[in-house]
Symmetry: D2
Subunit: 353 residues, 4 copies
């Protein structure tokens, strides 16, 4: 079977390079081209490499960045993974969809559009149907977005809990890694030995996206879920892995052990379908008293291809009618490039590609 | 006026050395002796110095550590500041009180005793009266404790809010500095580039102490306050300064601006009394979008003697019936040695010494 | 005595703001204006503050940044402290000197000009005479530069050693703080939990400047010193304070104790003159086995006004004909703004202002 | 072929656990038992795990620690890998050798014994013959040690340079990771945002070991190499990977390009023999201007089994008769457990096992 040729947009950035990492040796997809702004045109990937400690094949490092030209891309690639910055993504992704390309985006620009699936395959695979309602579909292409990096890690266990017990409120405080801000991103003078209790637009995204994702798809539209969602976001001096402190008020009272069981037995569609980038266990519940931790658990997930795709949960405990727990996920894999690759795998499995 | 001779217990530890720092040149108190376990007996303070970047006078650094012997201490000192580890503190502090010493402790051992004031002068100065109910009072001495370091930073703004609007629930997640674990404390392998979502007994202390401190003193006892309190505690790679993400459900709905006003106009007793270690403004509300931050704000507080004693609050904002805000305070000054020194100043002002 | 009005150039940067810090309450100088590029024109200092954990007076924070216009500056200020980036400094500083302003610069642009003193008052105060040879002097102004931040910390003890024993070779490896790269400077993704063994042009500056500074002023020119100088420079995850590992081959063999004595008894001109920003002891030799360290010693220096101006030396030891030692100095105070302020104080004492 | 049963000594420590990691699926060796002090007896490896972010098989994590009893070990294991602390290692390793076990040790205790090979297979494979001269050989066992972690990374490129050009002097300053101090090791209060310019005995080890390793084996003994070696050692806030700034004075002058060629064409015995843990390229010369860096290069080495075993060299440059370069190697793999595993593989290839 010939592999689908895919474009990587924003290949000079952190997310773009994570796409490249995940696409090396991918069973369905093959990199057809690397694209970025004109400033980087002609440089090799090796010359603009940002992601450290990841091994790329020599031929991948030798690929040259091309300027982002939607029609030229459409001639070569059926699909595009977008790690573009938000301000560029909006128009570029729309133009690509017009030109017939299936766009799987990490950018926030189109996430809240009523006809765009804000998709996490473990959470709301049925929302993918929304793509069929887009104006450009099927002659042209379509846009599917992943969720914000900190929303994603939370949404997976929240879905399991929501399904099992219902949900009245979720209070979350984040401990977010610097790679979430891209490169050059956070200045070292701001974060060494420090915590910055502010990430622009992040709390708004978390508070907005979660209701759409946990919402019900019916009659061609998504009815948002209804529960209190209060998010506070901070940046910590960690390279990769967003940790989140979560307090829940469930729809019905449940013991911590019941919640653990609901999390551990959660087996959603990507795992049932055996998608290549889906981790065997989407949620790993840690039994230790001090886990999950970024440097220990950010890359959780089996098999090799799904490293960084599992969400780790730990310290599930009760407190007078509340459930407290900690969630950790890799922000540029599970919460970034990996999420979109999994979205594309689901789309392929469902016949949209 | 002759200064009160005071003992510093646990002078080889982080809190003990912060006591020493605050007592240099103190207008009421004078160091009568430095005490620690027998292991350090005879060493000079300079030889066991843990606190970095603080200037001590040469004569202070030359003082020798003595073994902790209650009766000998009582002969020399009217008052003791205790930075002892919890397991040692319980008996040693009781023995000192028996021997006639007024003990101002940073240890947790006696905090929840019904007859011991768990005291923050800005929060519950009237609770100091409990000291008079202790069996050893007045022939002997008494014990007054400060609160847990992360509880203290929270309690001050919570008091202002509680007084103004009432309180139905408080959800707090902490970002705690490593100095809170003492020395050697947190191994660098555990915390460099990492977050550890667990601090032993910390959540329990926060959830328990706050109700006692915000409680009502009446008829010789404290009636605990009643509101939901849910705490999640984590250690971050920061040297000094505990940051806390706080979500509140007030007794009556209030706009963020009203909350800010309540915080900024809060003028409790230590400020009215002009206690030497009381900051002019006990709560500093930051207007910037990304403050408070540990490296910028941990040492907030005027005048010089009160550096590290002000609590910084920032990003006060509303979210559908909730108030969100961030709190920062210096964990070994405001939340440690400074808190106990202020307690002793209050006791002196109230005639207990 | 009316204070000299001074301009601070580059007031939005790290060095510029250290100038402001040092000029608050300065006995000779008074800030006449804050200058930066047009982009920041009209903003207050408070709005562009980069330096964290330093207290500024409210009226200083309220000062507005003005666009850098040499003639306008010259009308108001007799003197300018320049924290401009190198590429801007060259022309702007020359224009200011033409317009009659005495420029004390932290930029590298004019350092190696034969008629410009590359000045550290403790090292080569006689080189200041070079300023009189500049074309613009005396009708116009003149330019005096400080040295590179990592060269400065090294030059002070090297001068003491050079004077006492002569010098055949100096091998130095640096551990440099991120504040040396300004703001935003080093991206956190590059330095968290990492070391970057490269700082552009830094080794070249160290290898070049040291010979000029330790050179002999005679007959209106400087004869460079002659010894092997080999520098290797790296950035480490430290906020402030450049640490340097130094290996010396002296002109004549000397025991470590002799070197320590030469360092401790070094009493150069600024201390003899009692310049306000000169530390009482220019070199502090630490006796501990593990000092100097950035977080403990970067702010060394007495009195209060000279904090961060003393150079700390430690672990002076012999190894088969070599002397090994460690040097630490504050890179934006001693090695930046403080150095230039001290230069201006020397110029005033010598009648150049 | 039945695998050799091996004991891992010190299995609760960082090096011990790296041994376990490398022995999982090893083609020659199989873990016969995990040993440590009595304090840990009976605990599973999972319960005492220190190394973070490494995947162990479930059955390995379930293995129980046994108390270190030489005769019992000798009955089960032909070979022991020792990650014991120095003070314990001396007697325990000697007792094991007496009991017939081939001990491959990471401890310093026996390194400088005239009859013990201080072995790096890429550097001095012929020194292994020394093992045959030990009193216990062949009836009993023998002891082979690896070198100090910071010496190892340096010795490999130094050997290549020494062989090609001769060597007159080596000046080295280290930037060492905290994992080198074991667990709990360096307190976070000492190293967060800091550099500690002292590691006990480290400079002495580097200055002593290098001459033995680069020495000539002849007539049953090692004649040490003769060149000036001056080492300065510091700890930096990095998890894994020792970086070293190296200045060389070669036996004959050579251009940087010649040195690079000597490094890149270096193909020593382990690579010729195809030992399983030998990296295909023992020295990787980086061409970028800012490499090697710990977070990017510590795990260099192909194939998968040799990750962390290659030494990275960068920024090879000339400076007036000197060669400057930077060296990086993984301190607990190449400079610790991996070094000893490679030593054992060489011993097997040479018929000593």
């Amino acid at each position: 079977m010939r592999k689908v040729q895919v474009a990587v947009l924003g290949a000079t950035g952190m997310i773009g390079q994570r796409f490249v990492q995940l696409l090396e040796g991918h069973p369905y997809f093959e990199i057809g081209g690397l694209y970025a702004s004109e400033r980087s045109e002609g440089k090799t990937l090796g010359e603009v490499l940002r992601v450290k400690g990841v091994r790329f094949q020599d031929e991948t490092l030798a690929m040259r960045i091309e300027a982002l030209e939607p029609k030229a891309i459409a001639r070569r690639c059926r699909l595009a993974f977008s790690g573009l910055p938000t301000e560029v993504a909006k128009d570029a992704e729309a133009a690509l969809a017009d030109a017939g390309v299936a766009v799987f985006s990490n950018a926030a620009s189109h996430r809240m559009r009523a006809d765009v699936p804000l998709l996490i395959p473990e959470v709301n695979p049925d929302h993918l149907e929304l793509a069929r309602s887009q104006a450009t579909f099927p002659q042209g292409g379509f846009i599917v977005t992943n969720a914000n990096c900190s929303t994603t890690g939370l949404a997976v266990p929240l879905k399991a809990v929501h399904a099992a017990f219902g949900l009245r409120a979720c209070y979350v405080s984040t401990y977010q890694a610097v790679s979430g801000a891209g490169y050059p991103g956070v200045p070292s003078l701001d974060i060494l030995g420090n915590v910055v209790p502010f990430i622009r637009n992040e709390e708004e995204k978390m508070e907005e996206e979660i209701h759409k994702m946990l919402g019900t798809y019916k009659g061609g539209r998504v009815e948002p879920a209804a529960f209190d969602m209060v998010a506070s976001c901070a940046r910590v001096p960690v390279l990769d892995g967003h940790l989140e402190s979560v307090v829940l008020r469930l729809g019905r009272e449940a013991a911590a052990a019941e919640v653990v069981e609901a999390l551990e037995t959660f087996r959603p569609e990507p795992q049932a379908l055996g998608l290549p980038t889906a981790p065997l266990r989407p949620i790993i519940v840690r039994g230790e008293e001090d886990r999950p931790q970024p440097i220990a658990d950010a890359l959780a997930g089996e098999p090799e291809r799904a490293r960084g795709m599992a969400v780790s949960v730990g310290r599930v405990r009760e407190r007078k009618g509340y459930i407290k727990l900690w969630v950790l996920s890799h922000n540029t894999l599970r919460g970034g490039a990996g999420g979109s690759v999994l979205n594309a795998e689901l789309a392929k499995a469902k016949g949209l590609l």
